[in-house]
């Protein structure tokens, strides 16, 4: 007698399975060279956006708080790790070691910022987290866009005014050049590494949700007063969740910054945070697998629509609206359910049909 898996575990294993299947399929396509350069270039960004979406889903879906600062944490992680990699790229030449360190540095710096923001804000009730994270994202972006850092034999120079203000010696090198950002970051991100990190993130999140802490967090989401009355430390659990979200967003930022040669703060604007929120909402709030699928589809879509030129953004918007309606409208959903059940019935019938044939043989 086979032991029946509990539905939660089954659900998470289906996700792992799907991820692995996609990974193997893409790897085969890569090895046989039958994948276009554009898709190849999209692989790491898809992983990055998926990590951002699943980690935001933790705050939005599991904790039930709205965060609009995902791009800010990503930016912190990206810059922290890019600075690190640029400083050590001559001394640590082993890319895997350097990148592993960069990932931890990016993630931890982002998590520290998450905790700093969370300590005052997560004590409050209401939409304060949304307001504060929104402001945080904007502040971070503008600070990095105005930041000049260089080093020479005399050490590190930092200025918020201009490059000339640094007073670098001739042997000096710029690390962050204001709005021009950071150039020359070693390209350590590969699809394989990005996928492994995505996979680990998903494992962490599923295990977190199904752990004691995760259940406590969900009970806070569902009824704060009841959770408080059984003695749960609300702020602590909220802070853990939010810090984990920030950490993973920082890691996504590390992957992003090490995938491109240049990194500019203007990329991490409000629109990026909203885009990630769209992935979460479209994939289903609280649905980890849905987040990944939505992130992948919505990252691919505008690129695949390139053939229709100037209309692609129009089509992208229309498709987005249609998808939103289809996933939230009760009538359309029942239509799909009915058809899906019919389909399922057909498959099961066929299956049992073929089994009887086998038995007869």
């Amino acid at each position: 007698m086979k032991k029946k898996l509990n539905p939660q575990t089954r659900k998470s294993f289906i996700t792992y399975g799907l991820l692995l299947i996609v990974f193997i399929a893409v790897e085969i396509l890569l090895k046989t060279g039958s994948i276009s350069s554009m898709l190849q270039g999209l692989l790491v960004p898809i992983c990055v956006y998926s990590i951002l979406a699943v980690s935001l889903n933790l705050t939005v879906g599991i904790l039930g708080e709205l965060s609009l600062g995902q791009a800010g944490f990503m930016c912190v992680g990206a810059y922290a790790s890019a600075i690190f990699s640029n400083l050590v790229k001559d001394s640590i030449t082993q890319p895997v070691l350097r990148f592993t360190l960069a990932i931890f540095i990016g993630g931890i710096v982002a998590a520290i910022f998450g905790i700093l923001i969370g300590i005052p804000v997560l004590r409050l009730r209401g939409d304060y987290l949304a307001i504060v994270t929104l402001a945080f994202g904007e502040i971070i972006k503008n600070v990095f866009a105005a930041l000049y850092i260089g080093y020479d034999s005399a050490g590190l120079h930092i200025s918020l005014k201009s490059q000339g203000d640094l007073g670098l010696k001739p042997d000096g090198k710029m690390i962050i050049n204001g709005a021009l950002g950071i150039g020359g970051t070693p390209n350590d991100s590969t699809f394989e590494i990005a996928f492994v990190i995505l996979f680990i993130s998903v494992i962490i999140i599923y295990n977190f949700i199904h752990s004691r802490t995760g259940r406590a967090v969900m009970s806070i989401r569902d009824n704060r007063i009841a959770a408080e009355s059984v003695g749960l430390n609300i702020t602590k659990y909220k802070l853990i969740t939010f810090a984990l979200t920030a950490f993973l967003a920082g890691v996504a930022g590390v992957l992003y910054s090490h995938n491109f040669y240049s990194l500019q703060a203007s990329k991490f604007d409000y629109n990026l945070s909203i885009l990630v929120l769209v992935f979460v909402v479209l994939g289903g709030i609280g649905n980890i697998r849905g987040s990944i699928i939505a992130a992948a589809v919505l990252t691919l879509l505008p690129e695949l629509l390139r053939s229709i030129n100037n209309y692609r953004m129009l089509f992208y918007a229309v498709i987005l609206i249609v998808m939103m309606i289809c996933t939230s409208n009760e009538t359309i959903r029942t239509f799909f359910i009915r058809n899906f059940q019919k389909l399922k019935g057909l498959i099961i019938k066929n299956k049992s049909g073929s089994e009887t044939v086998k038995e007869a043989e």
Binding site: L18, L29, S34, I35, S36, S37, M38, L39, Q40, G41, L42, E138, K141, N142, A145, A146, S162, Q163, G164, N177, G178, A179, L180, G181, G183, Y256, N259, F260, Y261, S262, L263, Q264, S266, K267, D269, Y270, G284, N287, G290, I293, A294, A296, V297, L300, L301, E303, L304, R306, S307, N309, N310, R312, M313, C326, T327, R333, F336, I337, F340, Q341
Partner: protein, 393 residues
């Protein structure tokens, strides 16, 4: 409920898988960079949608015009050119790289682009890695040309800032200068930095330095008040035309009327919708191209452009792009490039040829030459807006 979710997930996955397959199918013809139909493919990248679309569309149109002209005249050494153009939305990250990859899939052999500096910085190392000859019409930062395969048609930002300060000092335009610039933008802060140091050398007094960012570019009253109370005679605007049009309007309502001076980003200001052109009267800008210049080449280009594109007047970006295509064609002719050569071989030949005694007379300058570093050497021209038109000073 759960089944519905499952179904949606499945169908989305199916869409994704399907789209992957179609995309793979598209690319099969042109993996190696050589083209199959006997044309040399020039790939262009720039913003066709979004806030900076006017530049990208201008570049695309003018490049197409140049390609058509060359092909009508029988091509280069009998080989026809083909332009493919992709939208990068002026994004400084993955979208610029996506556009570049899409161009590669379409068999790009030479790159004309990108239009904006931020996007260009994101792709220069990609073209270096793939060894594709890249000439940008308008990405002007110094860092853009740090690799040996990248060249500019426009001035670099440091040159623009320096030339602006020199022009103001030498022609005695003003002594007290206020600057409003976008410190979140690579182009704007690049010009600002060099303008400031050159102005100090030339004895110009900078009385106010005000900045704004990409997110706060609608209300400039604080910056304008600061400039006004500092007694500025001239307002230097190393920014793009859209913000500049707002600054001009808000200066008027603040009853502040200094002289205005800008760089090539201001070009296009007369094309802003609902913009009162009289506000721009007397605005000076340093741009290598004026649509109403009297020389034959400019007039011929403007006429052809207007005929082809709905009577629109080409801006400097369009002229840069037109020159860019013609420069590529001249180089191809000189080196005897064939359509079936790989992008990498073409790059090796062209990058050597362009800095080796090559000179080009175009719309944006006479006797343009390039250093091996990639910067162009040509004379800047100042233009003033008079009677609702750009005219040479």
């Amino acid at each position: 409920m759960k089944i519905a979710k499952k179904f949606m997930a499945l169908s989305l996955a199916a869409v994704m898988a399907g789209s992957c397959l179609t995309a793979c199918g598209d690319s099969s013809s042109s993996k190696d960079g050589g083209s199959s139909d006997g044309t040399i493919v020039i790939g262009g990248s720039g913003p066709l949608t979004g806030g900076a679309a006017q530049y990208g569309v201008g570049v695309k149109n003018a490049a197409q015009l140049a390609v058509d002209e060359i092909n009508e005249a029988g091509g280069v050494n009998g080989v026809k050119l083909k332009l493919v153009f992709e939208d990068d939305e002026a994004d400084p990250g993955d979208k610029a790289v996506n556009a570049y990859n899409a161009l590669k899939d379409k068999g790009m052999q030479v790159m004309l682009g990108t239009v904006t500096t931020g996007s260009c910085l994101a792709v220069i190392d990609k073209t270096k890695q793939d060894n594709i000859f890249q000439i940008t019409p308008s990405a002007s930062a110094q860092d853009v040309i740090k690799n040996d395969n990248t060249f500019q048609v426009c001035f670099t930002d440091p040159n623009q800032g320096k030339a602006s300060a020199d022009y103001i000092a030498e022609n005695n335009v003003a002594k007290k200068i206020a600057i409003i610039y976008d410190n979140s933008d690579a182009y704007s802060s690049g010009i600002y930095n060099t303008f400031k140091s050159e102005a100090a050398e030339k004895g110009l007094e900078i009385v106010a330095e005000q900045s704004f960012t990409k997110d706060s570019k609608t209300d400039f009253s604080a910056q304008i008040t600061a400039a006004k109370s500092a007694g500025a005679e001239l307002l230097f605007l190393p920014i793009y035309y859209q913000e500049a049009s707002l600054i001009l309007a808000q200066c008027k309502s603040a009853d502040f009327s200094p002289k205005f001076f800008g760089c090539d980003g201001l070009d296009g200001i007369l094309g802003v919708e609902n913009f009162d052109k009289s506000l721009a009267e007397g605005v000076m800008l340093l741009t290598p191209f004026a649509a109403d210049a009297s020389d034959d080449a400019t007039q011929k280009f403007v006429k052809a452009y207007k005929e082809k594109y709905n009577n629109e007047i080409p801006n400097q970006f369009a002229a840069d792009a037109y020159d860019g295509v013609k420069i590529i064609a001249k180089l191809i002719e000189k080196e005897g490039i064939k359509a079936d050569m790989s992008a990498s071989d073409i790059c090796d030949k062209l990058k050597k040829a362009i800095s080796d005694g090559f000179s080009y007379d175009g719309l944006t300058g006479q006797g343009m030459t390039w250093s091996a570093e990639g910067a162009v050497s040509k004379n800047p021209k100042a233009v003033v807006i008079k009677d609702g038109n750009y005219s040479a000073l």
